[in-house]
C-alpha cells in the first residue's frame, strides 16, 4: 500500500485546480461557471490543510477556513446576481451577456 504523502495532496490539489480552470474557460452556463470557481477554491483548501498538517502549523487550516467562508459568501452574492439576471432575461447563458464590447 502506497503511503499518501504531502506531494499526493498537492498533486491532487493541482489537478483539481486545473479542472476548475478548464471549467471556468469552457462553461457557458453561469451556474456551472460558479461551480467551477468553487472547485478552484476548494482545491486550494486541500493543499492548505495538507501543508498545515505537514508543518504542524495551524495557519494553513485557518486560511482554509477563511477560504471556505469567503467561498460561501461568494456563492451568496453570485447566486443573487444570477437570480436577478435570470428574472430579467430568462436565461443564464454567458453568450447572451455581451452588450458591452470594444
Amino acid at each position: 500500500m502506497m503511503e499518501i504523502g504531502l506531494n499526493h495532496y498537492l498533486v491532487l490539489s493541482t489537478i483539481l485546480f486545473s479542472i476548475g480552470l478548464v471549467g471556468v474557460i469552457r462553461r457557458k452556463n453561469l451556474l456551472m461557471l460558479f461551480f467551477a470557481t468553487e472547485i478552484l477554491l476548494n482545491s486550494v483548501n486541500i493543499s492548505f490543510a495538507a501543508i498545515s498538517h505537514f508543518y504542524g502549523d495551524l495557519t494553513g487550516q485557518m486560511f482554509a477556513f477563511f477560504v471556505i467562508a469567503i467561498a460561501a459568501s461568494e456563492v451568496a452574492v453570485g447566486l443573487g446576481l444570477l437570480i436577478v439576471w435570470h428574472k430579467r432575461h430568462g436565461n443564464i447563458d454567458l453568450e447572451q451577456m455581451s452588450t458591452m464590447r470594444g
Partner: protein, 641 residues
C-alpha cells in the same frame, strides 16, 4: 563740406518721400517738380563738393551713426566723398536731374505719375548711398536699394505681364549675383576684421593670395549681376519693359555701372590679384562682342540700345580688369551721358510713335522729329567714338590700354566690336530717321516732344560732345586715389596708324549701315526674307537661345522640382510618415480592440491564457536558472562568449 554731403545724399530721399505722399492720389505736377528741384539741389551740392576736391580740398569723410555693431563687427553709416565717388555722384546727379525733368514730360499722361517720381528719386538715393558709402556694407545697402528700385521701375506698368516678369527676372538675377557679393563681404570681414574700405584694403596685402583671389572673384560675381555681364545678362534687355526714362537712368547711365564702380573701388584688391583682373578683362571683351552681335539684328529700338550698353560695359570691365581703373571710370562717365541721351531720344521717338518699338515700322522721322534726330545722331556718333566726341577719348583709350598691356586678342576683339557698334548704332538711326516714311502705313502722326523736354536733354548733348575734353583734368583728379598709369603708345607712328585706322574702320561701318538701311527699299520684315532665315540671324535674334535655355533648363525644372518637393516629398514622404506613425498606432488599436469581445468566456480565457503564458515563462526561466551551468557550457561550446 559735411553739410553739402548730407544735402547731396538726402535730397533725393526727401524728394522720394514727398512724391510718395501723393502716391495714391491722382497725378499732380508738384509731385514731379519737387523731386526734380531737390535733385537739382543735390546736383549743386555735388558740384560744390567737386569744386572742393578739384581745388585741392580734403576728402570729406563722415560717420553719421552706427548701423550694426556686435561682436567685433562694427558697421557705421559712413560716407566718403573722394575723387572716385565724386565722379560717380556727378554722373548720377546730372543724369538723374535731366531724366527727372524729362520724365515730367514723358510721364505726363500716366496716371501713376506721382508713384513714378517716388520710385525714381528713391533710386537716386540708393545710388548715392552706393557710391558714397565708405564700407562694403553700405555699398551693399545701395546695391540692394537700386535693385529694389529697379524692380519697382521695370515693373512700373504692372498691368503688363511682360513688365512684371522682367522686373522679377531682373531682381532675381541680381540676387544671384548679390549672394556672391555677400560671400565676398564675409570673406573680407573674416580676413581683415573690418568692412571699412580703407582699413580692409590696408590689411589685404598681408593676406595670402588664395583668399584674395576668392575675395576678388566673389565680389566680382556681385558686379557681374548688377552690370549684367554674361551669363547674368539676360535681364538687362528684358528690363527695357520699363518706362524709357528708367532705361536711360538706371539701365544705361548709373545702376548697371555699379559693377564697374565696385571693381574700381576695390582696386587695391584687384591690383593684388592680376589673374582675376585678366579674367575680368577677358569676360568684358567677350561681352562687348557678344552683346554687340545681338544688337546687329534686333528689331526693338530699346533693346538695341540696351545691348549697346551691355557692350560698352564690357569695354569698361576690360579697362578695369587691366588695371586702368581711371580709364574705366572715365568711359563710365562719358558713356553715361551719351547713352542716356540716346535713350531719351528713343523715348521721344516712342512717344511720337505711340510706343512702337520696331524701327522698321518708322523711317523718315527726321522731319517731324528734327531735334530728336539731331540729338540721337550726335549721341550715336559719340557712341561710335568719332573724334572729337566723348566716345572717342574714352573708348579709344581702352583700345590703347589693351594694346599697351599686350593683350592683342582683347584689342582685336574690341576693335572689331567698335565697328559693330558703329554699324548697329547707325542702322538704328538710319531705320528711324531716314528712308521712306513707313510709319504712315500704320496711320500714326508723330509729334516732336515738349520744348522743355528737349531743353532738359540739352545738357546731356553738350556733355556727350565735350566730355572728352575733361580727360586731363579728370586724370589729375582721380589718380589721387587710383593708380596713375598714363597710357601712351610708345611710338608715335603706331599711335597715329592706330587712331586713324580705327576712325576709318568705324566710318566705314557707319557708311555701310547707311547704305544698307537709309534707302527707300526697306520694308517691314515679315519673316520671309532670305536673311531672316539664315542660321546666324536666327541665333542672333534669339539671343543665342540663352533665354530659352534659362527658361527650359533652369526656371522650368525649378518650378517642377518645387512641385515635386511639395506634392511628393513634403506631403507624401515627410508628412505622410508622421501621419503614418499616428495611423499605425490608431489602427493597431482598431484591430486589437476585438480582443475585448464583451463575451465573459473570452475574458476568462484571456486571464487564464495570461497566467499560463507567465507560467510557461517561469518554467523556462526556472529551468534556465537550474541548469545555468550546463547552458553556459553549451554556449561556450558553441563559441558564444
Amino acid at each position: 563740406m559735411e553739410l553739402y554731403l548730407y544735402i547731396a545724399l538726402f535730397s533725393p530721399l526727401v524728394g522720394s518721400l514727398f512724391a510718395a505722399l501723393f502716391a495714391a492720389s491722382p497725378k499732380s505736377l508738384i509731385a514731379g517738380v519737387v523731386p526734380s528741384l531737390l535733385l537739382f539741389t543735390s546736383f549743386v551740392a555735388s558740384t560744390i563738393l567737386l569744386v572742393n576736391i578739384l581745388s585741392g580740398g580734403d576728402i570729406v569723410h563722415v560717420e553719421m551713426m552706427t548701423w550694426i555693431a556686435t561682436g567685433n563687427l562694427y558697421i557705421p553709416f559712413g560716407f566718403v566723398v573722394d575723387q572716385v565717388s565724386i565722379t560717380m555722384m556727378m554722373v548720377v546727379t546730372v543724369v538723374s536731374t535731366v531724366v527727372h525733368v524729362y520724365s515730367i514730360g514723358y510721364m505726363d499722361h500716366d496716371k501713376s505719375f506721382n508713384r513714378f517720381f517716388a520710385w525714381l528719386s528713391a533710386f537716386v538715393f540708393s545710388m548715392m548711398i552706393l557710391v558714397m558709402s565708405d564700407n562694403f556694407a553700405g555699398l551693399f545697402i545701395g546695391w540692394e536699394g537700386v535693385g529694389l528700385c529697379s524692380w519697382g521701375l521695370i515693373g512700373f506698368w504692372y498691368h503688363k505681364e511682360s513688365a512684371t516678369w522682367a522686373a522679377n527676372e531682373a531682381f532675381i538675377m541680381n540676387r544671384i549675383a548679390d549672394l556672391g557679393m555677400l560671400i565676398g563681404i564675409f570673406l573680407v570681414y573674416w580676413n581683415t576684421g573690418t568692412l571699412q574700405y580703407d582699413e580692409a584694403f590696408a590689411v589685404m596685402p598681408a593676406l595670402n593670395s588664395e583668399i584674395l583671389t576668392w575675395m576678388g572673384i566673389f565680389l566680382f560675381v556681385g558686379a557681374m549681376g548688377k552690370s549684367a555681364q554674361f551669363p547674368l545678362h539676360t535681364w538687362l534687355a528684358d528690363a527695357m519693359e520699363g518706362p524709357t526714362p528708367v532705361s536711360a537712368l538706371i539701365h544705361a547711365a548709373t545702376m548697371v555701372t555699379a559693377g564697374v564702380y565696385l571693381v574700381v573701388r576695390a582696386n587695391p584688391l584687384y591690383d593684388l590679384i592680376p589673374h582675376v583682373g585678366l579674367f575680368i578683362a577677358s569676360l568684358g571683351a567677350f561681352v562687348a562682342l557678344f552683346a554687340a552681335s545681338m544688337a546687329l539684328v534686333n528689331r526693338d529700338m530699346k533693346r538695341i540700345i540696351a545691348y549697346s550698353t551691355l557692350s560698352q560695359l564690357g569695354y569698361m570691365f576690360v579697362a578695369a580688369g587691366l588695371g586702368a581703373y581711371w580709364v574705366a571710370l572715365f568711359h563710365l562717365m562719358a558713356h553715361a551721358f551719351f547713352k542716356a541721351l540716346l535713350f531719351l531720344g528713343a523715348g521721344n521717338v516712342m512717344h511720337a510713335m505711340h510706343d512702337e518699338l520696331d524701327p522698321f515700322k518708322m523711317g523718315g522721322l527726321k522731319k517731324p522729329l528734327k531735334w530728336t534726330f539731331i540729338m540721337m545722331t550726335l549721341a550715336s556718333v559719340a557712341l561710335a567714338g568719332i573724334y572729337p566726341f566723348a566716345g572717342f577719348f574714352s573708348k579709344d583709350l581702352i583700345l590703347e590700354v589693351s594694346l599697351i598691356e599686350h593683350h592683342y586678342i582683347i584689342y582685336s576683339v574690341l576693335l572689331f566690336t567698335a565697328g559693330l557698334t558703329a554699324f548697329y548704332s547707325f542702322r538704328l538711326v538710319a531705320l528711324i530717321f531716314h528712308g521712306e516714311e513707313r510709319y504712315k502705313l500704320f496711320g500714326i502722326d508723330p509729334h516732336e516732344a515738349y520744348k522743355f523736354v528737349l531743353i532738359a536733354m540739352s545738357p546731356l548733348l553738350i556733355l556727350a560732345i565735350i566730355a572728352g575734353s575733361f580727360k586731363m583734368t579728370y586724370f589729375e583728379m582721380v589718380t589721387a586715389v587710383l593708380p596713375a598709369t598714363q597710357y601712351h603708345v610708345h611710338s608715335v607712328v603706331t599711335y597715329w596708324i592706330m587712331t586713324i585706322g580705327t576712325q576709318l574702320f568705324v566710318l566705314l561701318a557707319i557708311a555701310f549701315a547707311y547704305k544698307k538701311y537709309a534707302n527707300n527699299r526697306i520694308t517691314v520684315p515679315n519673316g520671309t526674307s532670305k536673311m531672316e532665315n539664315r542660321l546666324c540671324y536666327k541665333i542672333l535674334s534669339n539671343q543665342y537661345y540663352i533665354p530659352y535655355v534659362y527658361e527650359e533648363y533652369i526656371s522650368k525644372p525649378y518650378r517642377e522640382l518645387s512641385e515635386v518637393f511639395w506634392k511628393h516629398v513634403d506631403m507624401k514622404v515627410v508628412d505622410a510618415s508622421v501621419d503614418g506613425i499616428a495611423n499605425i498606432i490608431y489602427s493597431t488599436g482598431e484591430k486589437t480592440r476585438t480582443m475585448q469581445s464583451g463575451n465573459l468566456s473570452t475574458m476568462l480565457k484571456w486571464m487564464v491564457a495570461g497566467t499560463v503564458a507567465l507560467l510557461s515563462l517561469a518554467v523556462v526561466f526556472g529551468l534556465a536558472v537550474r541548469y545555468s551551468d550546463e547552458i553556459k557550457l553549451i554556449f561556450s561550446g558553441l563559441g558564444v562568449q
